[in-house]
């Protein structure tokens, strides 16, 4: 290929035409203190709160505190090269991140710069990271379902598009897994997912990205990561940056799912920088505006009205509790902000119930309206059944003689718990979920051994896919339960041919 000198010089000329020779006027201040991601500067008398400043070293900072004699600045980057006496310039801009389709499939830091080694991202336009959430008139009620692909969630705590559902639990209870599985299930659902990893180990983030890539989920996902070795200000702004990226799609009429993993670490980062900025500490040493930090972030999740394109942003914030204590400061705050929570229990997790969703304490305040009709029908009594099962279970441990009704209830309860178990990264379609829950609630599983439930389930799906695909398609397309008689006879047909792995003594006795 020959170098076309004329073309290049024409291009340069064009760019030079835009260059204006003018004297630059800059307002400056002098750095008087630097440390722990924070700088203070004298001067900068006209600086605005939230304004972006530039240090001598080229690092940017954001104005956080405006005080009578100086300005408190959070440094967004390497603060070790800044020294006392450096000048710091106003830029007149507020903090922005690049947004747009080019980000999809990429891993970026909270400033929107690529960290996946796949080259720079040129999106062409940006959005401010802080934006007032859509108001009352710009919204409409949540009515479309967001399928997580997990039976326990879609049946018991359904999530709607535009909802904010908290995932809460101790460490190692599968919080991230629930979020990742939900992202994986959004394939071909016209969804754009944003996974914001705040203070997660770089190796963990790498693992999550690999999982997403393996299941083809990176094609519609943006990963925003602020690792534990980044300074606290970057961890603090990460969720806002993610929300700004999501809003761009939402205001273009698309559906967005954003996961904040996790907000406890963001609160810790904000506490750190607030204390260094000498803001007065409040409960658990968090600053006074920690509630506002989370509420203004989660309020940005919305279902927009049809004039604005009807886009939505569903938020799944994650909070880590310490030893199951949901009454700590941050958990109570975020529980009260969100439209419900999925509570993950470490005891159930270790006893093999995975996902370890605690049906008693998990709720969804708005998702019920968005639940598929067919699912509503089959899962209606599930929550009550489980509650009474857990109640009976603790009593049944003492007595040996139980009447038939109680026995049946215990039997059904144990099978319900078994059905709600699900392996890792294996989301199910709504139709399949409805099918197995139908089989459960109509008693087809009562005679199946507990160990055989999983086998029965997968066999049932194969059978329906092969012989009764029309019934599944009806559920998928209409959202309604198909003709009861047809469905019943089809399930019966499978149940009759089902081969248990071993004939137990009870069953043998029963048949005699």
């Amino acid at each position: 290929m020959s170098i076309k000198a004329e073309e290049i010089s024409a291009l340069i000329k064009q760019q030079l035409a835009n260059y204006q020779d003018e004297i630059s006027v800059e307002e400056t201040g002098t750095v008087t203190y630097v440390g722990d991601g924070i700088a203070r500067a004298h001067g900068l008398e006209n600086a605005l709160s939230g304004e972006l400043l530039e240090f001598d070293t080229g690092v940017y900072g954001m104005v956080q505190n405006l005080e009578s004699n100086d300005v408190g600045i959070v440094v967004l980057g390497d603060f070790t090269k800044i020294t006392e006496g450096d000048t710091v310039k106003r830029t007149g801009r507020i903090m922005e991140v690049p947004v747009g389709d080019e980000l999809i499939g990429r891993v970026v830091n909270p400033l929107g710069q690529a960290v996946d080694g796949l080259g720079t991202i040129n999106t062409g336009h940006t959005r401010p990271i802080e934006r007032k959430a859509p108001g009352v008139m710009e919204r409409q009620s949540v009515f479309e379902p967001l399928q997580t692909g997990m039976k326990a969630i879609d049946a018991l705590v359904p999530i709607g598009r535009g909802q904010r559902e908290l995932i809460i639990g101790d460490r190692k209870t599968g919080k991230t897994t629930v979020a990742i599985d939900t992202i994986i299930n959004q394939k071909d659902q016209n969804m754009i997912c944003i996974y914001v990893a705040i203070g997660q180990k770089e190796s963990t983030v790498r693992g999550s990205v690999e999982t997403l890539r393996k299941y083809g989920a990176m094609d519609y996902t943006i990963v925003v990561t602020a690792g534990p070795s980044e300074p606290a200000p970057l961890l603090y702004i990460a969720p806002y940056a993610g929300a700004a990226m999501g809003e761009e799609f939402m205001f273009n009429g698309k559906h967005v799912l954003i996961v904040y993993d996790d907000l406890s670490k963001q609160a810790d980062a904000y506490r750190e920088l607030s204390l260094i900025l000498r803001r007065p500490p409040g409960r658990e040493a968090y600053p006074g505006d920690i509630f506002y930090t989370h509420s203004r972030l989660l309020e940005r999740a919305a279902k927009l009205n049809d004039e604005l394109g009807g886009g939505s942003m569903t938020a799944l914030p994650i909070i880590e509790t310490k030893a199951g204590d949901v009454s700590a400061y941050i958990p109570t705050n975020v529980i009260s902000i969100t439209d419900g929570q999925i509570f993950l229990d470490s005891d159930s997790f270790y006893s093999g119930i995975r996902p370890a969703i605690d049906a008693g304490t998990s709720v969804s305040r708005v998702g019920g309206d968005a639940q598929v009709k067919a699912m509503k029908k089959v899962a209606g009594t599930l929550r009550l059944d489980l509650a009474s099962y857990h109640e009976l279970e603790s009593f049944a441990q003492f007595g040996s003689d139980l009447d038939a009704a109680t026995q049946a209830k215990l039997n059904r309860g144990a099978r319900t718990v078994e059905v709600l178990k699900q392996p890792l990264h294996a989301p199910l379609s709504v139709a399949n979920q409805v099918l197995i829950l139908y089989a459960l609630t109509r008693g087809f599983l009562d005679k199946v051994e507990l160990d055989d439930i999983a086998k029965f389930e997968s066999g049932l799906f194969d059978f329906f896919n092969g012989s009764h695909k029309d019934l599944l398609d009806t559920i998928t397309s209409t959202g309604q339960l198909p003709d009861d008689a047809a469905l019943k006879s089809a399930v019966q047909e499978y149940a009759d041919t089902f081969q248990p792995s071993k004939v137990s003594q009870d069953q043998a006795a029963a048949t005699n």
């Binding site: 340069i12 760019q15 030079l16 630059s24 006027v25 307002e27 400056t28 001067g43 900068l44």
Partner: protein, 180 residues
């Protein structure tokens, strides 16, 4: 929480400025204050020694006595008061803040012009007049600093603002336009 020096100095200087202004003694007062500042600047430890508890009260009194003897009227009262309230370490800052107020009243601006080559007096005068017109000041006290690394042009630096007309900055901007 104890107040920092700047906050303290602002309060003292404001009160002093208003008092002297009502007595029409601003110019006289500023001269005396500048002399006091020179004393403190020549003896950097004086402020701290008079504030902390390293000396016995009687010895401290001995140190401050010459200052009290040398002054009279409002300035004498100021020194006595600042001493009584243990704020002697903020004295220099009080004078600085006082001067800042004085300069604002008289529309005086201090600026430093950085150039690649030394400026002649007539050039400095022209720059001074131009800068005075731009910022709306009556008097501009301009100092000249030579820094060959800016290649050409002038950088005028004043409290809080930089007017940058240097060749170095222009080249940098041109580079950003072409590369960005």
């Amino acid at each position: 929480m104890s107040l920092d020096k700047v906050t303290v100095a602002k309060r003292y200087s404001k009160a002093l400025f208003e008092l002297l202004n009502s007595q029409n003694q601003l110019d006289d007062g500023l001269e005396k204050l500048k002399q006091i500042r020179t004393v403190f600047q020549d003896n950097p430890q004086l402020g701290t020694v008079l504030t902390d508890k390293s000396l016995a009260p009687s010895e401290r009194q001995k140190l401050v006595q010459p200052l009290l003897d040398a002054t009279s009227g409002t300035i004498h009262n100021l020194v006595q008061m600042v001493y009584d309230y243990n704020r002697m370490d903020a004295m220099v800052e009080i004078v600085n803040q006082f001067q800042a107020r004085y300069d604002t009243l008289h529309q005086t601006v201090y600026a430093e012009a950085t150039t690649a080559v030394p400026l002649s007096d007539s050039e400095l005068d022209a720059l001074r007049d131009g800068y005075a017109g731009r910022v709306g000041a009556k008097t501009v006290v301009l100092s000249n600093r030579v820094d060959p690394s800016i290649i050409g042009g002038v950088v005028v630096q004043s409290a809080g603002t930089i007017l940058d007309g240097s060749i170095k900055t222009k080249i940098n901007r041109l580079r950003q336009t072409l590369l960005g």
